[in-house]
Every structure is written in structure tokens, then in C-alpha cells.
């Protein structure tokens, strides 16, 4: 990892942290509604893994999804606008926190159903095999998902047919308020892969470099050998499951202990120890990031609310194989278009401060 790369990865982790701290504030202010699941503490996983992808690779994630989009380079402004339900949001205000999509960047979104996106990841891998390209799929999910049937169905066929998918369990120790001890018969979750003959590894998710090394091997295996991998990346979320969770199922002491291994702090410390950067460099970066987050909030505040007519848009695709004369008696069909939308083309407010 060269100096620029290292700095960029540090920047991404710091951006996710600052972005989400701001989200928590906006949630308290009532500007963000619904469920808000924060990724704080887990940043090294998304940043370490996604930084290894090629532009044409795919990924699909659970609903704790802010970090992945930011790690992939999606502009924080439409993400913040999405959180606030604005038309300039990455999903036009229809998805919210759990559904950040950026298809041109291969991001097939945050899925709100625990484990629901695992068979879909397998399907994307199947598509790659059928076409004969050498793309890969990363599939991120929490430790709660491994007890869903979908996990087992997806892993079985991925191994059976040789699908180029890296399945990443982000083990943050709690499925909502239920600890792993109370939910999984096997405590080393990566062992679940042995049932399917899938190469598996246990990874320290608080260490960005380790995440990169291990995910990199798994991506190679997918790209070159057409083999899936199951990785258990051990991480920790500092905040509750969602904003409404006071976290009474774990001790303050446990959280404080884990925060001592903070991935951003550790990686920053390493950069300074290796004399690649100074504390002053990192502080200056932090200021820049805070400004960037401010700008995202400003963008979001100035972005228009979606017009009520958009309620019916984006349900169906306009199709020459549908009798549109009849279908259009339903407003959802009336509002169809032939093309897909591209996030960059979503309406943006007038440029801020210029």
C-alpha cells in the first residue's frame, strides 16, 4: 500500500465516522426518520474490502449500509439527502437509510431483510459465470443473518457451482439485542463454511490491513479460481442496533474495551509511527471531512421534497410487451419509463455557497 492509498483509506474511514456522527444528530433533530443503523466501529470492514474491487465488480449489503456507499466513492451529498427523504437522494427519497443504491458503481444496495440478499449475491455470481466474465461479488451481512435459511441455500449453491462470491460475515456480536452466544450453536462463525466446503477465515475487523489482506485473497480466489469464500470478520458496533436501542444487553465496560481497538485510531497511529503522516496532517484532514459533511447536510436541506407524483414512479419498467393502453389506467404504469435512472441525473439543488 503506497502513501496515497494509505491516506485515502484513512480518509474514507474518517468520512464514514464523521458522516454517521452527523446522522445521529440529524436523527435526534427529527430530520432523519425511520430506522437508522449506524456502522460506527465497523468502518475498517467496508473500507478494507471495497477498496479492493474493480469498477466493474458488484456488491450487495445489509441495511447497515452507509459505510459501503461512502467507501465506494458515492458522493456523500445524495446519501445525506436520501437519509432526509429528499428528491436529490441516491434513491430519490424512496429508500432511506437502509436502501442506498448506486448501480453505476456496482452497489446493489442495502437490503432490509436479514439474510435476504445472500441468494441474490449468488445470482449475481451466477450471472458472471454464465457470461464468462471475471467480475466478483462481495456480499456483506451481520452475524444475525447466518441463522437464516437463505444463508445456507446461498452458500450451498455457491460452492456447488463455483460462484465468484465473497460472503463476509461482519460479526459485531449482537443480532439486535441477542448476543451470539444465545443465537448460534457454533461460536466460531467461519466454521459454518465447512459444511459447504467453502474456504473460510477468521479476520480481525478492527485492523484495516488484515481485512485487506484476507479479502484480497478471497477476491483472487473468486476471480481466478471461481470459488466462493466465507469470511468471518470480527468487529464491533459502538452504537445501538438502531437509534432507538439503548443497548442494555451489554456492559459499558465491554463497549469501552472495544473502543480501545478503534480501527481509525489504530490505522492513524500506524501511519504516524511509520512517519508517513503527522498528527497535524490527520487533523487537517478531519477538518476537511467535517466541512464535506456540512456541505452534504446543506445539500440535503436545499434539495426539494419529492413531488407527490413521484409516488407512482419507479414501480415498473415501460415495456413494449405490455398492453399499455390497459395498463395505464393504473398510475404506476402511467409513470413508467423505458430507461433506468442514474443517480448523477437526479435533481440537485442550486450549488451551495457559490
Amino acid at each position: 500500500m503506497n502513501r496515497e492509498e494509505a491516506f485515502e483509506l484513512y480518509r474514507q474511514m474518517a468520512l464514514i465516522r464523521r458522516f454517521e456522527e452527523r446522522c445521529a444528530q440529524l436523527y435526534v433533530e427529527g430530520k432523519i426518520g425511520g430506522f437508522l443503523h449506524l456502522y460506527i466501529g465497523q468502518e475498517a470492514v467496508a473500507v478494507g474490502a471495497i477498496g479492493l474491487l474493480r469498477p466493474d465488480d458488484y456488491f450487495i449489503t445489509s441495511y447497515r449500509d452507509h459505510g459501503y456507499a461512502l467507501a465506494r466513492g458515492t458522493d456523500p451529498r445524495p446519501l445525506m439527502a436520501e437519509l432526509c427523504g429528499k428528491l436529490g437522494g441516491i434513491s430519490r427519497g424512496k429508500g432511506g437509510s437502509m436502501h442506498f443504491y448506486d448501480v453505476p458503481r456496482g452497489n446493489f444496495g442495502g437490503d432490509g431483510i436479514v439474510g435476504g440478499h445472500l441468494p441474490i449475491a449468488a445470482g449475481m455470481g451466477y450471472g458472471i459465470r454464465l457470461r464468462g466474465t471475471d467480475q466478483v461479488v462481495l456480499c456483506f451481512f451481520g452475524d444475525g443473518a447466518i441463522n437464516e435459511g437463505a444463508f445456507h441455500e446461498a452458500l450451498n449453491v455457491s460452492a456447488l457451482w463455483g460462484l465468484p462470491v465473497v460472503y463476509i460475515i461482519e460479526n459485531n456480536r449482537y443480532g439486535m439485542g441477542t448476543s451470539l452466544d444465545r443465537a448460534s450453536s457454533v461460536k466460531d462463525l467461519y466454521q459454518r463454511g465447512s459444511a459447504y466446503g467453502i474456504t473460510r477465515r477468521d479476520v480481525n475487523g478492527m485492523d484495516l490491513v488484515e481485512v485487506r489482506n484476507v479479502v484480497g485473497e478471497a477476491i483472487d480466489r473468486a476471480r481466478q479460481d471461481k470459488r466462493p469464500t466465507l469470511l468471518e470478520i470480527e468487529t464491533y458496533r459502538y452504537r445501538g442496533h438502531s437509534m432507538s436501542d439503548p443497548g442494555k444487553y451489554r456492559t459499558k465496560d465491554e463497549v469501552e474495551q472495544m473502543m480501545k481497538h478503534d480501527p481509525i485510531f489504530q490505522f492513524g497511529k500506524r501511519l504516524i509511527e511509520q512517519e508517513r503522516f503527522t498528527q497535524a496532517d490527520l487533523d487537517a484532514l478531519d477538518k476537511e471531512i467535517l466541512l464535506q459533511v456540512d456541505e452534504a447536510v446543506q445539500f440535503s436541506e436545499q434539495s426539494p421534497w419529492p413531488g407527490v407524483a413521484t409516488l407512482y414512479e419507479d414501480v415498473y419498467v415501460r415495456s413494449p410487451y405490455i398492453n399499455m393502453k390497459a395498463a395505464e389506467r393504473d398510475p404506476a404504469w402511467q409513470a413508467t419509463m423505458r430507461e433506468d435512472r442514474v443517480p448523477e441525473e437526479f435533481p440537485a439543488p442550486a450549488k451551495v455557497g457559490s
Binding site: 446493489f108 445470482g123 415498473y316
Partner: protein, 325 residues
Amino acid sequence: MAILTMREALNQAMAEEMARDPNVFILGEEVGAYQGAYKVTQGLLQKFGEWRVRDTPIAEEAIAGIAVGAAFTGLRPIAEMMTFNFSILALDMIVNHAAKYRYMSGGQVRCPMVMRGPSGAAAQVAAQHSQAFESWFAHVPGLVVVMPSSPRDAKGLLKSAIRDDNPVIFMENEVLYNQKGEVPDEEYHIPLGLSEVKREGSDCTIVAWSRSVLFATEAAKLLAAEGIEVEIVDPRTLRPLDDEPIFDSVRKTNRCVVVEEGWRVAGFGAEIADRVQRECFDSLDAPVVRVTAADVPMPYSRVLEKAYLPQPDKVAAAVKQVLYR
């Protein structure tokens, strides 16, 4: 025109579309080496190879999920459910994923897949293997729901379903697989969302789809013997529903009976009855009457099975009821 069974017509539709577009592939239980549990996919593995005709384990959620994921990347999967009874195990993939990703992503994603297979009752296979779930799927915005009743419709509609860019639930019927009918020799397709009048008549409109068209047709023969001429309208697609031909017919006959194989409560026939009373209120000379399955699980015994299903005599009785005869 060739005379084909519905099974052969469906097979032709898939073979032709697979030859036409390399993005089309089939997956499901026993679709390949076994040649299809109901032989609908017969011969396709030999023609197109294992990556395009994929035998899967018995894992409906994976079958549907793989179709959804592959469709997101631009392929056109046909996921066969051995029967739609088992689609309940895949319902999350269809309802929460196939039907919703376009909306949740603000229009970034499309899901051009087909889920197809037999639906409804076969013969004496009891409660878990005899269900008609079209009302469940038709309830979900984002899905297209198709139910053909003839070989010609089956082929033409399946070709449209495969080429369409929306997720299509294509529900066949085991009892209809051996039904024969004329199928054009030339290339054709039938647009989704287009109703057809299957029989003309002036005394009463019967709305029926899939196997219920057979019940209605048999009933029409019984009634004709008594001088009653019914008109049968087959919507063929439940969502989007081409309801105008139904209204036109009711405005002509002033009476309406809706026949469906599913349960009565919240069944799709209630949606049709609702639309008819709203749009044709002034034309109706009697309340809309529905003929449905009994609101119980399907029993095994032949005698009880007959009592459970809509039958020609029940349809004929309903027609007489709305005619006050």
C-alpha cells in the same frame, strides 16, 4: 396452424426465446437431466447446456434469489417452481426483492425475470399441493401476474413475459398441460395485460382465467341447452388487469359471474367484482356473483375434492342465480 398441447407450446416458447437471446436461462428443480417434473422443459438441457438449463437443489429461496440477482445483472432468468405451492418458500425473494428493488433504488434497478410453473389443483394431491395463489401475487405492486388458459395464449404470453423487463409471475396449470389447441406456426407474441373474449353471448358475462375457463366453457354448454348464452371473458393477465373488455361485456349482458380456483376471502374475483360494480353500476340487473373454491384446505378424497372446486354445474347455477331463473 399446429395442434399442440399447452406443455408443448410452453416448451416451444422457451426454446425459441433461448435461441433468440443468450441472456435467457432456466433454473429449477428437475428442469434439466430429468427433463422437467412435468416435462415442460424437455430437451432444453441437450440444446442449451448446463449453465443455461440449471438443475438446482430443492431450495426454492435460492432458485428465486438467483433469478433475481442474475436479472439485476441484465440476464433474463426463468425460474421454474415445480409447483407454485412451493413458491411460498421463495415469497421473500419475490415480494421483498424482485418486486421492490426498482422502487427502493429510485429506478436504478430492473428485474427482468419470470417465475413459472403449475398452479392450482391437480388430481387428489391434497392440501399442500393444490393451492391457487394468484391473489397473493396480484396483490403486490411491482409484479406482473399471467395465467394462460390455452396453448396459443400460453406460448404467446410466455414469450412476452420472457422479453418483458419486469418480474413476471407466470402461473400455469397442471390439468391444462395436456389440453390441446391451435398454435400459430409463425412467430408471434401476445401482449401482457390484454383480455380476450373466449365465447360470445348476450345473457351473462362470466369472467374466468386459467382452468376456470374450462369450468366456464363446460357451464356454457349446459346453459346453451337451456337457451342461455353466456359470454366468457378471460383476462389472461391479472396484473395489469385489462378490465375494459370486462366492462364492455357486462354493459351488454347486464349480469356478471366471476369464477376462480382460489379461496373466496380476499380472492382476486373480489377485485373484479369491485371494479364491475363501480364501473357498470347502472348496467347491472343483479349483484355480481362469485364461484370460488370452498374456504377450507383442499381435501384428498375424490368426492370432497369435487365439492371443494368450482365445477361447471356450480358455474351454471350461479349464472341462473343472476338471471333469476
